[in-house]
Symmetry: D2
Subunit: 351 residues, 4 copies
């Protein structure tokens, strides 16, 4: 299997760390996608169990049982989606056969600057060679590189919601240098299926709080992508909040408009750059997480305040799809020569 | 277009009363279904508006604008899904060209006994001829009749959840004569997009209540279907409750087992009769509304209590899909010669 | 301190196992109650921490830090509320000084029939002497005994919701012998602050399921109380369900009315017996969990179905208050000679 | 009854527009407050009905029936809480006897600048004399004026959450001139009991959106209060969002710190100024709406980001209490010589 060839047959895919929310979302999305044949699903702690024992909503799909990674025969695998947790993927993914296309959903390969990675994630980078190969998988921005790549570092959910509106505007010189405030709100599935008191129904329901102020790890991820497309004169201030919803991120983004610019050209920039995109849309109505839930869509809309010269952008995604498993499949579709939108074209369910 | 021919081409479909929750669910399901071409969507109060103005989650789909029924040219329509409210459909549907296949989601044609209808719905039946033609669209039970029919009275949501487990057991003589208790719990979408205080978020959220005790209109609907398959020795006692969830019905059903029967044969009956069904399943795990949300599935499981000789059945559906728009499309698929499952085969989304 | 004396001074109270939901609810209710002085709060796993570190909503209250039970000096304690888990209380509570008034919220002393307890809870009863002394603390039913008692086994939450309507009707001979169906729905706080996947927000929210069918341990508790007030000719069939709400139980209760009785006399019985009660009410409107949330109230309403001769009763409580900490304080108020309603008279908050 | 006298007796109070969420919250809070005797509750559309017919959670309280304002005899009334909608209060309140203490919860008297009011609310101000008398009822900031006043314009809910942290910092010169971003999130009760599609459970639940960007009327209210305490060199940028919770506001506030200042002094300022306050607290933990729900509390916490020199403040209130009815009663307590905290000292309920 050489890169960039069109796949006319089904691709054998393995999902690593498949028993978390992102993993089962990848399973769900791939199960209805004729391009892919799910050959292996790994989950060390649940090895030996069937998928439907743990997730009854997936009963009725013909799936392999969970197994350990070490019991997986990668010689018959064409592609991998890795949902392993941060810090565990570098050794595993660098040991896989080099002809396997990989999309990694952890943060382990999202930083070209290895020092920055080691500072932010407080651990030694153990696969610097593979890091060289890694392409940041923000599809609409890096499509050409992704198409030619073998290894994708899939973006974080918050960064996806912030960068899709911000990067075109920064590249187009619409944003005045200085601070960009990203005030983000996420549903609980962003925290994974983690047994913590603060994720219990009784504690999340009917309440709202911020967390990770100043220090959240998605801030340097956003910052480093912004800096990669400018001369680093922008500083990101990022505040995440936990919403009592199951899935969805809404980011409210504030920045000063450049002196020679105006809101009409800001809007035109976003409309033009995403005019032909299937998944990223400038919205005519005020975007709600309802408009993207269950889909690979990102919707955004820009507003302008004359008295402060600030632009406010509302951007929404489904954190488990465009923010994780969906964008991963979109990237694999590109890497494998399938239609980019295959298996990702459903509409949101409402109510 | 004559009945029972296989359709090899796309069918032109109109959705009447399309701006409610059931109507837009029909639109959403049909929009991804290559068998159907949505030609008209009517909504008298919203005539002239685009679908996405009212439901932004449906933006991006190429759809006609809402129009009035009277402005609809039915000569080019092959099939109709009617989501008009109870009491409004009889005159309208009986005036449509007689070669149009119709699936009506109101209660107006669900009672063969016209007197009973008039008593329960407190209005004069205005289309008794069409009533003769109507087939009760509980697909798995009446499939053969449905396939040959032109006009379907689609079942109510609660009756669908109760009858799918009960009818095979009653026909198989597993249920002792006497009272059958159906204790049902439904998400709010079952009440439609209705502006009432008791449907506001502030009133529904974090609370729970019963309603319509003794007198709910789905009770005589369940009763009349039960009676149609037995000698009327069963009496249904039905209590609906309003759940703080968006979609989903769970019915807990209680009845005494017949003296010569046992729980193993009850379970075998359900497993056998639904063994080949794609949408109705005997569940290995305790069914949750999570297991069917967003799908056309009904899942059920039976339990037995020795001390009281009672069987308890848990049955779950998505009220807007198997309980409304999904079963309607399943029926139309049959009536029009398509594969019964076309456009209805997605899996639940979780979380 | 001798029994049955009126307390004119403040009572020193200790709450054992105070870091769960029931424990902090007891703290919250007692913190505003001038009769009680919270002297000790024990929580073995959180010993050494302040209450507000774990529950910030209780910051601002002057409270002792959590300590281990073994570090508690019971010689200065007048009363104990025990929120320890089932199976742990028998040894601990039987070792306390015999002049301490105790209300135990576990199930460990709810069964007079020790064999039944050992069968249901699958463990050896280790404090059969103390069991002799235990009074089942369903206040409105057993008030006189409670007033004279030293040791209370506080009822389970589901049994409280079922027994308050059922016991007067059974004693009054309104219920035909046979099966009584109790179909109950509870908010998640009933399961405590337990780290289980099925209690995570992502899994509970927007879904609904039954659990513990046939075998739930509150069934024999209800049954044994019913049997204690009749000649055991009633058989309880009990199905609990998990509601996506934080607190509240609604029980829907079905039984056949006795031949010589009628619904008017059923209603009169409930109205009369609870006419002077402050916490238990026959409701004019259909009771919702909203009507009792945050209060020590139980509200109920009865309906009759002529065709099946069945009575349907809707009964609601707040599981953490009337179903746990509130009824415990109501009982202690009685045992200590305070006004029964002291500290429990607030109204529900809505929305 | 002359101003500033201590009330030793019960005050007769009328609540105008009492059938909305704010009105019934005032009823609930006053019903447990021995200082006040609820003499009249007006609600034009519900005149003649009992309170508990519309709000069953308030059954059991001895309350007058709803009546029309025109049927109210104000000669026996000492105090009024007006919950009438914006634009309706000016004529009514200016016609009341001048010895009645009034707290108005509408926006009609919140702007000293009448031109600004008329521009923002797009209507003629019809009680400019009464406006002269009006004191902005942000209690902790304007306590002395409130104590001496007869007529209070109670602050908006969002402004309360933003101004309590901001005003002391602006007065203390900690905030660099320029833009202050207030990114606020509110529960649905802030929108009142309004029959709109976007407030239905099916539309709010499990979703999240912004609204009123740039133009929300609470922005000029915040701005005018900020300007009143500075030389108007600050510009407020305000974005409200609708949370799927019933009550609670969390505001995330961003501003640049002054060059000669630092975060320690910002925190010290807030801690010191609110050190003796019963309702406004600098929080040791990250404030959640859970920490204030059901109370008159405002909790806040400040963070600092070195790279952007920005302070981020999280501030939480219960929009119906500190943001409406609770602060109104706090103000009346002051105006009438009662203890400021009377009837407002309960703790939050959790979960």
């Amino acid at each position: 299997m050489s890169e960039n060839k069109k796949h006319t047959n089904t691709v054998n895919i393995a999902i690593l760390g498949a028993s978390g929310y992102t993993g089962i979302e990848a399973i769900r999305l791939l199960a209805n996608n004729k391009n892919y044949n799910i050959v292996d699903v790994t989950a060390d702690s649940n090895a030996g169990m069937s998928v439907s024992e743990i997730y009854p909503h997936l009963s009725g799909i013909n799936l392999p049982d969970f197994k350990k990674i070490e019991d997986t025969n990668f010689s018959k695998i064409d592609a991998v989606i890795s949902c392993l947790p941060h810090g565990k993927t570098q050794n595993i993914l660098s040991s896989l056969p080099s002809d396997i296309k990989i999309c990694d959903l952890s943060a382990d390969f999202r930083f070209n600057d290895i020092e920055l990675y080691e500072k932010v994630y407080e651990k030694h980078h153990e696969a610097t060679d593979l890091q060289q190969e890694a392409v940041y998988g923000l599809t609409e921005i890096n499509r050409d590189k992704i198409r030619k790549s073998r290894f994708i570092a899939n973006p974080g959910c918050y960064p996806t919601s912030a960068l899709l509106p911000l990067l075109p505007l920064i590249k187009g010189n619409f944003v005045k240098k200085g601070t960009i405030v990203v005030d983000s709100k996420s549903g609980v599935s962003g925290a994974g299926r983690t047994l913590k008191n603060n994720l219990l129904y009784g504690e999340v329901s009917d309440g709202f709080s911020a967390y990770g102020l100043i220090s959240h790890r998605h801030r340097p991820e956003i910052q480093s992508q912004i800096s990669a497309h400018s001369s680093s004169i922008y500083k990101i201030l990022f505040t995440p909040h936990l919403l009592p919803i199951k899935r969805g991120i809404l980011s409210t983004i504030y920045f000063c408009i450049n002196d020679n610019s105006n809101i009409e050209s800001v809007i035109k920039c976003l409309k033009d750059i995403y005019a032909e995109e299937k998944f990223v849309k400038y919205s005519e109505t005020l975007p709600s997480t309802n408009d993207v839930r269950g889909t690979n869509l990102c919707k955004m809309k820009a507003f302008f305040d004359e008295t402060t010269n600030q632009v406010v952008i509302i951007s929404v995604i489904d954190n488990l799809i465009k923010g994780a498993a969906g964008q991963a499949i979109q990237n694999l579709n590109l890497m494998l020569g399938f239609n980019e939108t295959d298996g990702l074209t459903n509409f949101p369910m409402f109510p």
